[in-house]
């Protein structure tokens, strides 16, 4: 039986089509989830995609967090369901306190769309096991509020527990300790500011490349679920 990956659409979500495509490309069955529908329809994993839920007017992710589907996602995540929050999805996970810290206005204050180099720091999560520690990958970022912020104590904990999953080699937004993505203690919930779903095809991925460095985020999940 094929793995079913749910992708949540909130009002203002933009990258849901891309996340659904990523699921399809790695051979999973993409399942569209709706913010008002409290049911997860038995999916094996959930992606909270990028975009501007509710316009991001108050704070990125602040309002989406209270939608019916998120109650279900939060509960399931605590039970170990793999959840990947990309960009706006990462912001929602922080607002939901599934992940620590928050994402604030970029150091340069402007929106930045750029292919950035990341170093993978942890492969012991549901979404990164197909990488190797220290591996350098190219993934696009595109955000205005992508600066990861947390108090020193939280940052130290994240480091100590190996929960920083990727760092920027050339920090584009002033994120604390160059953090591009983090995981929860159990490793099933991952938040990532860059967009792996935009790096899965030779034709549309980063140029001059490598163009498909984002694929392992999704293949990792498949392997883990199939072996489980």
């Amino acid at each position: 039986m094929s793995v079913r990956i749910g992708v949540v659409t909130f009002p203002g979500t933009q990258d849901d089509t891309d996340a659904l495509r990523a699921a399809r490309v790695v051979g999973a069955e993409p399942v569209a989830l709706w913010h008002r529908d409290p049911s997860l329809h038995g999916v094996d994993a959930v992606i909270l995609p990028g975009g501007f839920s509710y316009g991001d007017y108050l704070r990125a992710g602040a309002i989406a967090r209270f939608s019916p589907v998120m109650e279900a996602v939060i509960a399931a995540a605590r039970e170990g369901l793999p959840v990947l929050g990309i960009c706006n999805g990462f912001q929602i996970l922080c607002e939901s306190h599934l992940l620590p810290g928050a994402l604030i206005r970029n150091a340069g204050t402007l929106f930045v769309n750029r292919d950035v180099k990341l170093r993978v720091e942890s492969t012991s999560t549901a979404w990164t096991s197909d990488y190797s520690v220290g591996q350098q990958i190219v993934i696009p970022i595109k955000n205005g509020e992508g600066k990861f912020a947390a108090d020193e104590k939280t940052l130290d904990e994240l480091e100590a527990e190996g929960r920083v999953i990727a760092r920027y080699l050339d920090n584009p937004n002033g994120s604390a300790r160059d953090i591009a993505g983090i995981a929860n203690a159990a490793g099933n919930v991952v938040g990532l500011m860059p967009h792996p779903e935009h790096a899965i095809e030779e034709l549309t991925g980063p140029y001059p490349g490598p163009a498909t460095d984002g694929l392992p985020f999704f293949t990792s999940l498949l392997k883990q679920l199939v072996n489980a």
């Binding site: 704070r59 309002i63 306190h97 810290g101 206005r105 150091a107 204050t109 912020a149």
Partner: protein, 81 residues
């Protein structure tokens, strides 16, 4: 009808990019004598009824839950006259 104001500012230990941008711009515009500028949000909440304790309690909960992200922000609720 009463107006309650909720001020939301980043916690002092969180570096504030927008405030920094203003700080950087000031000298260029010929302003000196400013030590620091921080930028936050101001919400003007118009209440149906009076701003009594019950109403204020509600606004405080609103701020705690929605208007501020207490992980990085602190807020103050006050009645404006």
């Amino acid at each position: 009808m009463a107006r309650v104001v909720v001020d939301v500012m980043l916690k002092p230990e969180i570096l504030d990019p927008q405030g920094q941008a203003v700080n950087r711009a000031l000298p260029r515009l010929g302003f000196d004598g400013v030590v620091d500028v921080r930028q936050g949000k101001r919400f003007e909440v118009e209440l149906e009824g009076p701003a009594d304790e019950a109403a204020l309690a509600q606004v405080r909960e609103m701020a705690e839950k929605l208007l501020a992200n207490t992980v990085i922000e602190e807020y103050r609720v006050r009645v404006e006259n």
